[in-house]
Symmetry: C2
Subunit: 474 residues, 2 copies
């Protein structure tokens, strides 16, 4: 392994190969899982500065039989980007590769290194007069390479799709260290199999994404946010249908939040002043992005909410009067996970269900959990516009959260995932599989799909060098 | 082979296995290429009635070593869905499988058999109060299975994307005859590799698509069409940028048409009354779909065109006053290929170029062709909003079209494709590869991409049973 380390130093420079040999070097930023669910131990953290170096690093590791864990901002939620504890894996950190290579306004594209931080890309796009719509909680730390490797979702998916949908081309280093030059800015290219989408969402198990060409959009002339109290989840779904009809593609956000989730924000962050939550089981946050004007956006919102009142699907609503108010509303939504953490350890889920079946799913699964675990508290919120719920389970108010997690997590997961399966849903909507859910796939994934995935992994990475044990169980 | 035929008859019923043994049976509808570029000879045309039968047919063919040519409406343009002339291939026609399995309005999805005709799906969606936006010239005959297998494009891609972008889930019979049950209606599902997009666009070489879950959209409240004369291709690109800005996602169509292309429509279909073409090198057709009202759509169009006039990127324009007028304008655009055929044989291309580089590409390539083939006439039109040109080459006015095609086609293709490569474009934007361009891929496709494609084909179809010789050269 020393020979490999010497090779790696020769490729990227000694300062960019970090190991435990130097006691002054702290590798925890690369070895610790974001949610502190796992702590690995790497042979080395290697930080290449360009695609050629990535290629050489992969070739050296392949020759030495050392497995590689590609890593961006290391903000993933499924233990997919930290090394295992064997001390033999090489963490391939892409963060030094953070150049915006090109912005092509007339083509509405931006070509960027994999290590660019998402927020930096949003800003670069805006400076050039465009919108890069991918947006999620970790945007200040996560990288676009990681976003693509995990097909990140976020808050604008209802209009702009997942990371996958925003990507036109990729540059990828294969498991053999070859470079696929696929950085096309084309909206149409039917010359063979869709390799791009195969690498997107493969969580670093099929290749290392080193750069991408992403779609840009015109900046909206105005963006308005509304907050509505709805009498039921059924009403929330009906409101979504009305919003699609009235706003068309202007609907860029549609989030649902259960009363208990909002009560936690009100309790732990009282300065946030959560509106309308006390007398309603659910609130909805809507965002309308308008290509015309704020006045027009407001008129559209008013018409939508009027119709919704008349139909009885909304009981009360406010429209933000300023950008500051809009941010405050979004901040409430984004504070739910933090408020949950303040309340104590809890069991998190990231599930999706066909939108039409979400009310029945929640009614059935809420009842099931309450029956099985008396006093259990459900923190239900998420991207209803995409059918994606963070259906989280908090310990009973009088219970010991640590004991609850230890004793109930596996059981709760099984109850929830089995319910998801009955409703034709997914046990991982936007977070991916990583290590955390790899052992669940054989149970919940179609066996033919799983066999196809194994064939593809075997074909592209026969040595099983790239992020082994992630996505597909070892 | 007789044993195989007996097996196939046992699976789908004797009436659904068509062979040349019966002299009264005419197989030309399945054996003849849509553009009459090839005529094959099948061992049999097999018409299964459900997915189980498809699975059994594939298993029987695999056991017998008979290769399979999956076929939908057989309207493809690259010789991808007809059998070769060996008399040994089984044409697997999906057209009997034409059921709309389910429409889920609240989830905005529709689950349909692969053999459904595209236009029937547009109508089924509209009857349910929704828009299914895939739209292309062959919509009265092509099937959704074929649309997906070839990742069809069409006229609404600028807003709704290609067939790939409209698809959420698939049911696929693998090369081993297994059924992958992947008919999810989920907008987010990160549980493993993106098999859906691997099968979409693989032209029947990796699996047989038997059903799909497709996205629906709200019906627009109004749809308006405008026709603008632009002083140059640069202006057309500038107008596209303005249209994105002003109309946002309302921009659902942006077609460009060169003067010579329009002159052919005016000449061969004088009753169509082509507007504004005589004094301008290019015309543009724009479509604005509005979620609000016709009045609003018209006001938006007026503002856009006013700005465009002021900026000098539009010299004249009309906005259709009625749906009938709008259809007439679209009809002119769609008549270009027919007018070209009236004018005589010609060399067709389906290329894409980054939008920003289209003016330079055309200037350079027009000049190159005119230098190399004096008197050559360029029929340039296409979906400029997607960077997709049908850059067709017509024989000189005084030449013999047949001789021109015979003598010049290979050379013209090379000139055009080499130019496309210089401009980072694609030699097949929306039509696919089929047999027609399979031998071009090794020259124009990134070698690493090609090697990855071969690995995947080998992994999924090691017997090379499914549509052999298509996409990847034999």
């Amino acid at each position: 392994m020393n020979a490999l380390l010497d090779q790696l130093r020769a490729i990227v420079g000694a300062t960019h190969v970090l190991t435990h040999d130097d006691p002054a070097t702290d590798l925890s930023a690369w070895e610790n899982d974001w949610r502190q669910r796992a702590r690995g131990c790497a042979l080395a953290v290697v930080r290449p500065g360009n695609t050629g170096e990535v290629s050489e690093v992969v070739k050296a590791c392949a020759a030495a039989g050392a497995s590689i864990v590609p890593q961006g901002g290391n903000t993933g939620l499924v233990v997919g980007s930290v090394p295992d504890d064997s001390g033999t894996q090489v963490v391939l950190s892409l963060t030094r590769m953070n150049r915006v290579r090109a912005i092509d306004g007339a083509n509405l594209t931006m070509t960027v290194d994999a290590g660019c931080v998402l927020q930096a890309l949003q800003e670069a796009a805006e400076q050039a007069g465009f919108l890069f719509p991918l947006s999620l909680a970790a945007e200040g730390s996560c990288t676009i390479g990681g976003n693509l490797a995990t097909n990140a979702g976020g808050t604008q998916v209802v209009r702009y799709g997942n990371a996958r949908d925003l990507c036109l081309g990729l540059e990828v280093v294969t498991a053999q260290g070859e470079v696929w030059h696929g950085l096309t800015g084309l909206r149409k290219d039917n010359t063979g199999y869709d390799l791009r989408d195969l690498f997107v969402g493969s969580e670093g198990t099929l290749g290392v994404i080193t750069a991408a060409t992403m779609k840009l959009y015109p900046l909206p002339a105005a963006q308005l946010t509304a907050w509505a109290a709805v009498p039921s989840l059924e009403s929330a779904v009906a409101l979504l249908g009305l919003a699609h009809q009235h706003l068309g593609a202007g609907l860029t956000g549609f989030e649902v939040m259960g009363q208990f989730a909002l009560s936690l924000v009100a309790k732990h962050f009282p300065q946030q002043r959560v509106p309308l939550w006390e007398d309603t089981p659910y609130c909805v946050l809507l965002e309308n992005s308008d290509s015309e004007s704020e006045e027009h956006a407001r008129a559209q919102f008013e018409r939508l909410l009027e119709t919704a009142f008349e139909n009885g699907v909304v009981s009360d609503a406010v429209v933000a009067e300023s950008l500051q108010q809009a941010h405050a509303l979004w901040h409430i939504r984004e504070s739910i996970p933090l408020a949950q953490a303040e309340e104590g350890l809890n069991i998190k889920h990231d599930i999706s269900i066909p939108v039409s079946r979400i009310p029945a799913f929640c009614a059935e699964t809420d009842a099931l959990l309450e029956r099985e675990i008396p006093g259990v508290r459900l923190v239900n919120f998420g991207h209803l516009g995409d059918g994606n719920l963070h259906y989280n389970v908090q310990a009973p108010a009088d219970g010991d959260p640590k004991a609850f997690l230890r004793e109930q997590e596996a059981r709760v997961n099984t109850l929830v995932f089995d319910a998801v399966a009955r409703f034709d849903g997914s046990i991982s909507a936007e977070h991916g599989v990583g290590s955390l859910k790899a052992d669940k796939l054989p149970h919940y994934k179609d066996p033919v799909a799983l066999a196809l995935m194994r064939s593809i992994k075997q074909a592209l990475d026969p040595q099983n060098l790239l992020n082994p044990g992630r996505v597909l169980p070892r």
